[in-house]
Symmetry: D2
Subunit: 383 residues, 4 copies
Amino acid sequence: MNKLWKKGYELDSEVEEYTVGEDYLLDQALLPYDIQASIAHAEMLGECGYLTKEEAESIVAELKKLESLEIKKEDEDSHTAIENYLVEKLGETGKKIHTARSRNDQCLVAMRMYFKNNLQKLETEIKTLIEELKKKKDVPMPGYTHTRKAMPSSSGLLFSAYMDMLEDDLLLLQSVKKILDKNPLGSAAGYGVPLKINKESTTKKLGFAKTQENPIHCANSRGKYELLVANVLTSIMLDLNKMASDLILFSTSEFGFFKLPKELCTGSSIMPQKMNPDPLELIRANYHVVSGYEATIKGICSNLISGYHRDFQLTKGPAIKSMSITLGSLKVMGKIFAGLELDEEKMKEAMTKELYATEEAYKLVEKGTPFRDAYKEVSKKFM
Amino acid sequence: MNKLWKKGYELDSEVEEYTVGEDYLLDQALLPYDIQASIAHAEMLGECGYLTKEEAESIVAELKKLESLEIKKEDEDSHTAIENYLVEKLGETGKKIHTARSRNDQCLVAMRMYFKNNLQKLETEIKTLIEELKKKKDVPMPGYTHTRKAMPSSSGLLFSAYMDMLEDDLLLLQSVKKILDKNPLGSAAGYGVPLKINKESTTKKLGFAKTQENPIHCANSRGKYELLVANVLTSIMLDLNKMASDLILFSTSEFGFFKLPKELCTGSSIMPQKMNPDPLELIRANYHVVSGYEATIKGICSNLISGYHRDFQLTKGPAIKSMSITLGSLKVMGKIFAGLELDEEKMKEAMTKELYATEEAYKLVEKGTPFRDAYKEVSKKFM
Amino acid sequence: MNKLWKKGYELDSEVEEYTVGEDYLLDQALLPYDIQASIAHAEMLGECGYLTKEEAESIVAELKKLESLEIKKEDEDSHTAIENYLVEKLGETGKKIHTARSRNDQCLVAMRMYFKNNLQKLETEIKTLIEELKKKKDVPMPGYTHTRKAMPSSSGLLFSAYMDMLEDDLLLLQSVKKILDKNPLGSAAGYGVPLKINKESTTKKLGFAKTQENPIHCANSRGKYELLVANVLTSIMLDLNKMASDLILFSTSEFGFFKLPKELCTGSSIMPQKMNPDPLELIRANYHVVSGYEATIKGICSNLISGYHRDFQLTKGPAIKSMSITLGSLKVMGKIFAGLELDEEKMKEAMTKELYATEEAYKLVEKGTPFRDAYKEVSKKFM
Amino acid sequence: MNKLWKKGYELDSEVEEYTVGEDYLLDQALLPYDIQASIAHAEMLGECGYLTKEEAESIVAELKKLESLEIKKEDEDSHTAIENYLVEKLGETGKKIHTARSRNDQCLVAMRMYFKNNLQKLETEIKTLIEELKKKKDVPMPGYTHTRKAMPSSSGLLFSAYMDMLEDDLLLLQSVKKILDKNPLGSAAGYGVPLKINKESTTKKLGFAKTQENPIHCANSRGKYELLVANVLTSIMLDLNKMASDLILFSTSEFGFFKLPKELCTGSSIMPQKMNPDPLELIRANYHVVSGYEATIKGICSNLISGYHRDFQLTKGPAIKSMSITLGSLKVMGKIFAGLELDEEKMKEAMTKELYATEEAYKLVEKGTPFRDAYKEVSKKFM
C-alpha cells in the first residue's frame, strides 16, 4: 500500500503495526474534517496558481463525494487514505493535493475543527442537563459536611449548585474554544513552506476566527491544545462525578432521599434483590478515565524540544476518547435526572434536630451572647 | 490552646499533629487576605446590626494592626490565630468575629483573594518574559522535527513561537481569573446562615466582580477552583518545560547554537570541566512537580459527595506551592533569556543542505512535477 | 438478549450502551481463561453434588469446544456469553453453571489467569531483549550528565546498564506474579456463598499457588491487583523510555554514535530527506500511555468503601491495553537493538579532552594534592 | 559560602535560591545516612591508600561526632555541609573526603540507606496495625456491593480482609526492599572513577546485600528506585484509603455501625453539634497526596537520556514526604482502630431480609431448581 513517505523500501511489518496503532480507527472521527480542510486547501492552491482551475475543481469535486470512506489499516491514517483515493480517481492530479502541506498541519487542522465542533456539542449537552435540573422539585433535606448531617438544606439548593457548577464549566469551555479557534493550515511540518500560499483564504473558508501565523507555534500546539480541551473535559467530569457521588449515596436504603428509575439500574448475576446504580458508578469512574487520559497527554508533551515528534500521535486517542466519554456521560446524567424521584417522606424524616444547632446558637447571639460562647453552650447538648 | 471547635475534651496529640499538618505554615501566605476579609466581614456585621458600631470599629482597628502575626502550630490555622488574637485584645467582643461565618467560607474567601492576586502577578511575569524574548536577535538556524534537522528556521521564529504560546496562557489565565472572581463569604459551612447578612456589602468591599450566591456551589468550588488555577499553572509550566528542553539541547557542545550565561550554570562536585544548565533542568522538572500537584488536587476532589470534607484541606499545599514554583520559574526563565547568547557561527554551520530538500522538491513542483513525484525524486538523493 | 441480572424490564438503550462500553471487546482476551475457570467450576460443582455427574460432564464437554466464541455487544460480557451458550446447547442444565458463583469472582479469576499468563510472556520478552543487548559491541563513547559530556564511557557499559535495569524489572515482576497467584473463585459477589463448595479443588485444577480465602479481600483486590500489574508495566516502560531517549539522541546527525536500521524508520510526507525514529518515539510516548492508564486505575479504586462497585469495570481496559502495549514495546525494542549499528568513527571522534578532566584531577591527587584543590586547579582550564 | 562545584564566580542569587529549593531542609532526614556512608567511604579510602591511616582516622573521628549538624541554606545540601564541616575541623585533610566520589553516588547511597531503614519502619507499623485489627470483635453486619446491602457479612470478615490487604503490601514492600539493597557508592557521577577503590568494602561496612556494579545503572536508578518505593507507599495508602472510606460511611448516623473515639474527632467552627472524622478524611486524602507525588516522580524520570540530570533532585521531596505521610497515616489508623467501637444494636438492626435473597435462591437450587430460574423467582419479591 502506498504511504505518503514511501521511498522504495519496506518497513518491518510488526513494527509497522506498532507504529500505526489504532490511528486508522481514530481517524474515522477526523475524516469529515480532513476532507473539508482538503477542499479548502485545494481551492486555495487553485487560487494561488499551484493547481490549475481544472485540477482544483476536479479534486474538490472528488472530495465532496467522499464522506463515507473507510480508512484501512494499510492506509495508516486519514491523510494517506485521502491522497490514495484522489490518486486512484484522478491520477497525476491527485498527487498534487499534498502541495504546500504536511501531514502535520493536515492533522492539526482536522483536530482543531473536530474540537471546535465537539466543544459546541458539549455546550449543548451541558445546557440540556441544566434544563433537566431546573425541572426538579425543591424539597427540604439535610445538608452534609464531612458526610455527616450539618445544617438544613434542600434538593433545590443542591440542584441549583449543580447548575452553577456547570455554568463555570461553560465559561471555561468557551474560553478554550476561543483559544483554539485559529487556523494552523500552512504551517506544514512546523516551518512553513517556501511557496506563496494564502493562509487567510483557508482561514476564511473553514470559519476560523484567525490564522495561527507562527508555524512553530502551530507545531507546538499539538498536544498543548489537546491538554486545554482535556482540562475542560476533566472539569465537566469532576462535576458529574460529584453529582454521581451524591445520587449514589442519597439513593441507598440508609439515606433514601432519592429513587433512581429502574430503567437506569442493573442487577446482580447472583443476588436476586439488587438494583444497582451502575450508570452512576460508571459516570463516577469515567471521571478517572478522562483524568487518566489528561495525565497521558501531559506526560507525552513534556521534556520534548520544539517541533513535531511522533509521540504526539498518541495524544489523539486520549483526546477523542475522552471527548466521547464526556458527551456520553452528560447524556446519561440528563436521563438520570429526568427519571429521578424524590422520596419526600424520607427527606422530611431526616430533618432531625441536630441540623438546627447552629440556628439555636444564633438565637443566643441575637440575645447578646458572643458567638463563641453561644457555640460552646449549644455544643454541650450534643456531647 | 484554644481551637474554634473546642468543646472541653482534648484531641490525641499525635493525631492532632497529623491533622494540622503544614496548614499553619501555608496559612502564613493567606493571612493578609484573611485579615482583609475579616475586616470586611466585621464592617458588614456592624452594618447589619450583629455588632454594635463600637464593636465593629474596635475589631477593625485591631485587625488593621495585624499584618505580621506568626501563626503557631497550636493555632492550627490563620482563622483561629485571628480569633484568638482578637479575643486576647478585645475579650468578649473578639468572640463575636465568627458570627455568621465558618472557617469554610473564611478559607474560601482568603484562597480566592490569594488566587486573584497571584494570577495578577503571574500575568506580570509572563509579560516580562515576553518582553525579554522580544529583545533577542533573529539568526537563521535549523528547524527540527523528530529531533532531526528538518527545514530552515531561525531563532526569531522560535522565540516568537514562545511568545505566542505564552499569549495562549494569558488567555487561559484571564478566563480562569474571571471564573473565580466571586465572593463566597456568607456561605458559612456550605449551607448559609440563618441571619440577615448582606453579602453584597463584602463583595463590594473586597473588590469581587460578584457574589457567589449558592452556598453549596461555594463549598463545592473548594478544590474545583484550585484545579482551574492548577490548569493555568500546568499550562504555563508546560511551555517553560519546552523552552528549557530547547535551551538544554541547543546549548550542548554537539548542537552549540546557544550559550548560557555562566552565572546561571552550576558545576559538578567531581568533574572540574562541567558547566551544567541546572536552572533549566529544574524548570523542566518543576513542570512535573506542578503537574503532580494538579494530580493530587484532581484525586482529592473525586468521589466525594457535595459539601465540605476535611480532605479539601490538602488541596491548599499543592495550590500554594505550585503557584510559587510557577512564579519562580517564570522569573528564572526571564533571567536566562536575558543572559542567553547566540553562537551565530555555529548556527550558520548547521544550515546544511538536507534542510533544503523540501525547497528542492517545490522547485520541481513549480516546473510542473506533481508534488508526490517531486518528493520521490528528491528523496533518492538522501537514501 | 438475555442478561444474567435480567428481571423482566428493559434498560434504556443509550444507557445500556454506556454501561457495556467496550467490555465485550476486552473480554475477548479473557474468554479462554473464563472458559477454563468455568470448566474447573463445573467439575467442582459436580464433585460437591451441586451438579449431577452427567450435568457436570455435559457442561465441561460443551465448554471444551468453545474456544472461538465471538462476544457480541448484546452479550455484554464473556460471562453472559458463556452462560447463554450453555443454555442454548444444554437447556436447563446450562442454567446451573452460575450456581455458587457471581460475575464478580468469575471476572476476578479470569483476570488473575490472564495476568499470570501475560506476566510470563513479559518475562520471556524481557529475557529476549537482554539476549539482544548482550550481542552488541563494546566501543568507547562519551558518558553524559546533564546532557553534557562528562567522563569516558562505552556502549558496552551503557547496554549492560540496560540489562541491569531490566533485571530489576524482572524481580518486581516475579514478586507481583507471586502476590496475585491466589484463586478468588468462590468469593462470589464478595461475601462467599451459603453452600458447601470446595475452593481448594478449583485452586488445584487452575494451578494457583493458593486459595484467596477472605471473600472481601477478593473483592477489594479488584483494581488493587490491576495496580500492582500496572506498577510492573510502568517500571518496564520507564526503562524502555530511557533506552528510546538515548537512541533518539545518539542517532541524530549532531551526535551520530548510533545508526538505526532504515527498516525501522519512517519518512515525512513533505520532507524528502527525512528518516525518522518513529518506533522509538512511540515507545517513548507509550510510557506515558501506560502511566496514564496506571493513573486511571489509581483514581478509580480510591474513595470507595469495601465491596464491588461497577467502577471497577473500567480498570479492565487500562490493564489489558497497557499489558499489550508493553509486550509490543519490548518486541519492537528487541528488533531495534538487533538492527542497531554503532558508528565507531563518530564515537571515537567524540572522545574529546574535557572527558578526562576528572582523571587529570586524580593524577594531582595521586601526587598528594587534596581532591578539592586538584579540582579547582583543573577547573581553571575550562573556564 | 563554599560549594563543592565552586570555580571562582558567583551564581545569581535568585537563581541560586531557585536551584537549592528545599533541598537543605530535606537533607536533614538524610544526614545520618550521609555521615554513616562518609565514614565507610573514608575508611575505605584509608584501606586503599588514598588517605593515610591518620587522615582516615581523623575524618572518621570528626564524622562520628556529627549527628546534630544543622544544614543551612548556604550549604545547599548535606554533602556540602559535611565537607565544609570537615575542612573547618581538619583543614587540608577535610578537602580529601570527596576523593573518588561525587555528590551523585553520595546522594544515592544516603537515599538508599534512608529507604531501607524506613521500609523497615513501615513494616513494623503495618504489623502493629494488623495486631490492632486482630483484637476487634466479630459481629454480624451487612455486606455491601455498589454501596447497597448485598449479603450477610461481619466486622470480623471485614477486618480480616484488611489484614490480608496489608499482608499483600508487606510482600510488595519486602520485594522492593530487596531490589534496592545494593550499594551504589563508587559509581561517582555515573561513570565510576579512574582509581583503584574497593566497593566491596563499603558494601560490607554499610550492610548492603551487594554492590551495584554498573555505574550507569546506579545513575539511572535515581528516580527509578524512588518510584519503586512510591509504588509500595501508594499501595499501602490505597488500603488505608479504603479502610477510611468504610469507617467514615459506617460511622454516619444513617449507617451507625461504628463509633469513632471522640478524641479522634474534631468539631466545626460554626456548628456546635458536629463530631467530624477529620483524621480519617485526611488519611483518605493523603492517598491522593502520595499518589500525586508518585506521579511527579514518574514524570520527572521520563524522556531523559541515561546519566544524571538535575531534574532528579526534585524526586527527593516527593519520596521523603510520602514516606513520612505513610508512616504517619499507619500510626493514626492504628489509634483509630484501637479506639473504634462497634454499635452491635445498630449492626443487628441492619441485618434486614434482602440480605438473605441469595440464600433463598440457593434453597430453591437445593430443591432442584436451576440457579438462573431460582434467581428469577426470588427476584420477583424485590421488584
